[in-house]
């Protein structure tokens, strides 16, 4: 198969790329579709309900987006479809549980510890598994199955220490904030704020720092980047730190808004994949935007269909995206 050739995302100069994007129709088309859905829902269900579910969607979308950035960078740079990424989220959530509940310390410390621990986990597996496998020129199937094995192993470890019981973080789940007539859960509000702030931070970092540019260069062509004098090993290590820390954060946010189970991350993995593909593989901005869009769409869907179907929305977006535009909203048609 031609899996070896991945999407060669061309990253031209910053200014050129922006104007290029605006000229590209799919991007505008996607916004037009979202606006149309928004207007239709407002007309049918009223602004209040649409806004209320929209806020829920933003908190879900923040989790998807944070999970998707790391997955898409690893996918783009290392050509690794990391099925263990969902279990990175689970790992992060349980690390926060350890600090927050077992040791009784504030959740904010738990968040930091979760991000650090998951980043270290990412580095550890890079050193133990992925780097040697790259040296062996392992095929795509080998890597994908290895990541599934890793997902099993992580879940087994979590299940060993914390069993399959449902656990909750020490968060205020009941108090709400009234804002413009909307009732927003305190935890949810924090999730949305943290999510949006971190997402903007990542966006700026990728756009403005040298490391961000190097990551994009590696995503284009790892060997060419190496030839151009980029210390690829260092950039790859930072990619894993980045992916791990954000997955840890996403896991804590997911655990704070719902509860902790060993399957927590795996259940989030497919919507996160949907965000990665919709945003275009290797495109961090695309993943952020697509994660938010899928989160909001998922919650909006509860206005028209029964809430128990909402999980299917992410999968349907994924399938439709793959059929209609597998290169993602922002991507270019290549060998797909």
């Amino acid at each position: 198969m031609e899996a070896g050739q991945m999407t060669e995302q061309v990253a031209p100069a910053v200014g050129e790329r922006l104007s290029d994007r605006l000229r590209r129709r799919p991007w505008l088309g996607a916004i037009a579709v979202i606006v149309a859905i928004f207007l239709a829902l407002v007309a049918g269900e009223g602004l209040h309900d649409v806004a209320q579910t929209g806020v829920n969607g933003l908190s879900l979308g923040a989790i998807y987006a944070l999970g998707a950035v790391g997955l898409t960078l690893v996918y783009g740079i290392l050509k690794l479809v990391n099925f263990a990424h969902g279990d990175f989220l689970t790992f992060g959530a349980y690390m926060a549980y350890l600090v927050n509940v077992t040791w009784g310390m504030p959740l904010i410390l738990g968040v930091f510890w979760a991000m650090i621990a998951t980043a270290l986990l990412g580095l550890l597996f890079e050193r133990l598994l992925w780097s040697p496998m790259r040296a062996k020129h392992a095929g795509f199937l080998q890597l994908i199955l290895m990541s599934i094995g890793l997902a099993f192993l992580l879940r087994a470890i979590i299940q060993w220490f914390w069993s399959t019981d449902i656990r909750v973080l020490d968060v205020n789940a009941t108090s709400t904030v009234d804002f413009l007539g909307l009732r927003i859960g305190q935890t949810q509000l924090i999730v949305v704020i943290v999510g949006v702030v971190v997402i903007i931070g990542i966006g700026l970092m990728l756009r403005l720092t040298l490391l961000g540019k190097q990551m994009r260069a590696l995503s284009d062509d790892l060997e060419l980047a190496e030839t151009a004098g980029i210390d690829t090993r260092r950039v790859i290590n930072y990619t894993w730190i980045f992916a791990g820390a954000l997955a840890g954060l996403a896991g804590v946010l997911a655990g704070a808004t719902t509860d902790l189970r060993p399957e927590l991350g795996f259940e989030l993995l497919l919507p996160i994949f949907a965000a990665v593909i919709l945003g275009g593989i290797g495109d961090a901005f695309g993943a952020l935007a697509a994660g938010m869009v899928i989160g909001v769409m998922t919650e909006w869907s509860t206005l028209v269909i029964d809430a128990r179907w909402k999980t299917a929305v992410g999968f349907l977006v994924l399938i439709i995206a793959l059929i209609v535009r597998p290169q993602g909203i922002f991507g270019k048609a290549k060998t797909i």
Partner: protein, 337 residues
Amino acid sequence: MSLDPGALPLAVTFDALTNTSFWISVGVIAGTYAIVAVGLQLNTGFTGIVNFGQAAFMAIGAYTMAILVLKAGFSFWLSLPCAVLAAMIFGVIVGLPALRLRADYFAIATIAMAEVVRLFAQNARGLTGGNEGLFCDPNNPSNCYTNSWRHLSDSINNFVSNFWSNPDALFPLLLVIWVTVGVAIFVLRRLQRTPWGRVLRAIREDEDAAQALGKNTLLYKLQSLAISACLGAIAGFFLALNLATIHPLDFEPLVTFFAFSVLILGGMGSYRGVAVGSVLFWFVLEGTRFIDLPDPPFTETRIASIRLAITGLLLIGLMAFRPQGLFGKREEMVIGE
């Protein structure tokens, strides 16, 4: 439960070591997974398409069969070909758009498709019984998909009792499953040697080259997927006959991944390897039940987690050191190179 779709309702004791019915039930699971993995071998090993949605074909097979019998009044024997046909048609419908995608996208697309099927089974309560699952109505025992099977099973055991007094209740199922495995492997091995089989391998090696030779590669890939869907549906029947209830949790992505573990253990490009791999895999996994571990610290969930860890380490270790599996050929493992 959700973590261990092949769980056997048996206590963890040393008695199991000499317990024939325990080994027979393990053989039933191993055979069911062998059928699933033989289909995956055709897809992944011989056509180069990574089908992560096999659980969906099992679900469609099991649910269609049960729904046709329980709700539409079909006879059991008529429901089987209908359910196989449903799974194959579904495979073609999914394959038509998805098989045009690159291998990694196809893998993700199929797992998403399988989850949609499972969510449908979970939420379309009127049709599938939702989270309670689908089972025979105890108040209406005449209308049940297991009746015809039990009838056949009893006659097999009647015959077997000539040689083995008081044969195990699951023995006929074991027999039928492994005969199915044998037939599937025989047929597929023969097919592999035909021009059709050679085109599949050509697609695996280089799809563009196969296309350049004038082969409609999409059509061949669709056929490969449809055959695999047929085998998945058949495995679904056996799962339904083995378990009393057809439940959405029996068709989680984990099932597909277990089948991939079986495939990898057996080896890429070897049908017989898959059968051996399945027996080895399930005997090791279920064999952990013999180890009589003290309850604290070895609770039930911890022992389940050990099984999950074994599977994970097996996948990682094989991929790192022996990607061709036990009986595979290294040159058959070309995907992604």
